[in-house]
Amino acid sequence: MTDSETPPKPPLGKQRMARFWHKAKQVQMLYLLVLPTTLVIAVLGYYPKIDVVFKSMYRWNPPDVEEYVGLQNFVDIFSDNLFWQSFQLVFILLIANLFKMWPGIFAAVALHRIANEKLRYRFQVCFVIPMVIPGMVWLLIWKSFYDPTYGVLNRFMNATGLMRFFHFLDGSPGNVETYGLMPRIARYLGHVDPETGESFGIIHNFVAPVFGDTWGLVLLGAFFLTLAIHGSNRHKRHIAGGLIAAAAALPLILILVQKVVVGPGVIGAALLAFIVLMFFLARTLGPKWVLWMFYIFGGLIVFRENYLYLFLLPVAAILISEGIRHGMEHFAAEGVIKTIGTLVMVFGFLLIGFGQTWTEPTGQFAYGAPAWLGNQDLVIPAILFWGFPWVGTMGVLIYLAGLQQIPQDVYEAAEIDGIGPMGMLFKIELPLILTQVRINLIFMTIGTLVSYEMFLILLGPSGGPGNRGMVPGLYMFSKAFMDGQFGYASALGMVLFFLILGLTVIYQKYVKVDK
């Protein structure tokens, strides 16, 4: 319909233009049809996204202040304690999410296996109903549960004796003699005498000098787990190892260089070097490289005190894993490295859990009215408990849809093979809904990183007492709309953007693995 005779006389360029305009005239109605969407996406979608890149380089408080500061905002972010602290919370939430997803999976499987069809259908309808209630209503009702005097939670704990049990675990602050069970364990694992400055326990005398921090153990475990899946190509592994070591050494080099030269140019060069290293890492490792980006990012948080550990730990992990691979056959070595990684990680988590979380009594349980959202030691536990038993009805329905696609004969075959109900769960149902689980996990991860409505509503813009409930998104929000630092908030937005982009890369990789 578009081909028409064109006279061959005008030169080629003009001829093309003429044909273009001819075509354009025919399709101008079509352009009119796509105009509204294009306009809306360009103005409301793309413009703010491009603008944020520029505005991240300004000191900006509209409508008055607007001053170009280059990369200063990013330099400030780098040394902003609250920002790093907010990622610590994100990390805790992500780990918690790994545990919180199980009740939902179990609920879906249980629902799927109920033999009575009528009952199953009724339950399914029941799972839909809570989704109809607006999210804000849920949040506010749960917030009322946490109220110290009126709240249902405290009253339940008082009525059942849970409050006394928590008091037993917690004790009273001030005197070591009155400490409860948990702070005593933590004291045993590691504490510093405030007067003499002497330190006791395994954490200060063994873990901190060797691994930098208890979180260093967790990170080291993660290094091993990732190194285990680096593949069988030795040449590639060595290149990747070198690149990782170089990237991990960057902060050290940056600090050394900054003793001589200071300026945003130096940091820019370091960033550039980092990007180049990551680029080559991505070419050698494939999508797995993203994990290393996150590890180095995590290392920057963990080893703030001493970046030497950020260099030493990955190098040690690489050397050890290569040593193991050298002496062993490929699959056996992979298993050994994985086991080491898991053990180190679990040990790290146990030390953190028992040695560094409940170190001092909160003293909140003694009188039966703990202020869950008003005490800085109770904020994070309250957030983690939020939504007990953590079954998102939406998630259950998504899992259920996956389960219902499992053909009947798979079950029958399994039954003939003599697989029991628990075996069915782990050998059939879980592997077959892995896609749904992954999708759920990925969205949960991105959601944890960017969404902050819940924290804003439960704790206010400053993230509650002691900023304990500060997440990155909320920090951006409060920087902009509480402190009026719009440029700084834009820079925070940029950092968030790159993190989400990294996660999307992972997401692209893992969702495509579809069965």
Partner: protein
Amino acid sequence: MPKKINKATETLKIGYVLFVLFFAFIPLFIMIVVSFKTNTQYQTNPFFFDHPSTWQWGNWSKAWDIVSGYIWNSIFVSVLSTLTTISMVLLSAYALARYRFPGRNIIYYGIIASMFLPGTAATLVTVFDLLRRLNLINSLWALVLMGTNGGQIAGVFLIKQFIEDIPGSLFEAAQMDGAGHLHQIRHIVLPMSIPVISICMIMDFLGTWNSVILPLIVLRDPELLTIPVGLMYLEGEYVKQYGEMMAGYAISSVPLIIMFIFTMKTFVKGLAAGAVKG
């Protein structure tokens, strides 16, 4: 499903599902219970209804006075933005699905690519600045406009695919009869793609209905607040009247419940699509 029914495991499964459902419903139950109480009654007995003669029906009427305004604002914003979104999406999806024209791919991939760029989470500041310069601060139209933006991407993606599956001969026959683009959209696309359109509409509607952060930074006047922000401010008052608050929560849940009753199947699909979209 194994055919032999084991009583013990069956009870266990049902028990676990009931346990989960119990916790899913207890907040709603307590919401209703407390909405009939004064603060003193709440403190003495939070878990169950008191004698009906002491029920505080006044809570509900007071809550209605506060919340009804929010509800109308929310309906205004959500309905308007859903309708504009879907009509714009229909126009462009039709053009993109049916015709090849210069720049088509750029436009289409431009729309799809913005799905992978960060949403208002990372660009909140610049979106706010844009709305300020458009003089839309403290106006419900800002929310309508931003709602229109949010729904376009997924809408174009879904509906374009759907239109591509409609047999081309239908359109050609209509063209023979001299039907223009708009005529074809109205008489072919619209009736044939009702299922996907309704899913998109519900997704958009819920997205705008539940949005918190944008209304929070854009709206200033108390009489302009939408439901989520209105409830948030209601909860933040210094002297909390729990009975009124809970009645307000209950009332503001009603519009979605009504919508759900009439469009149950589509509603669940829309919810799922919206949840996966994130």
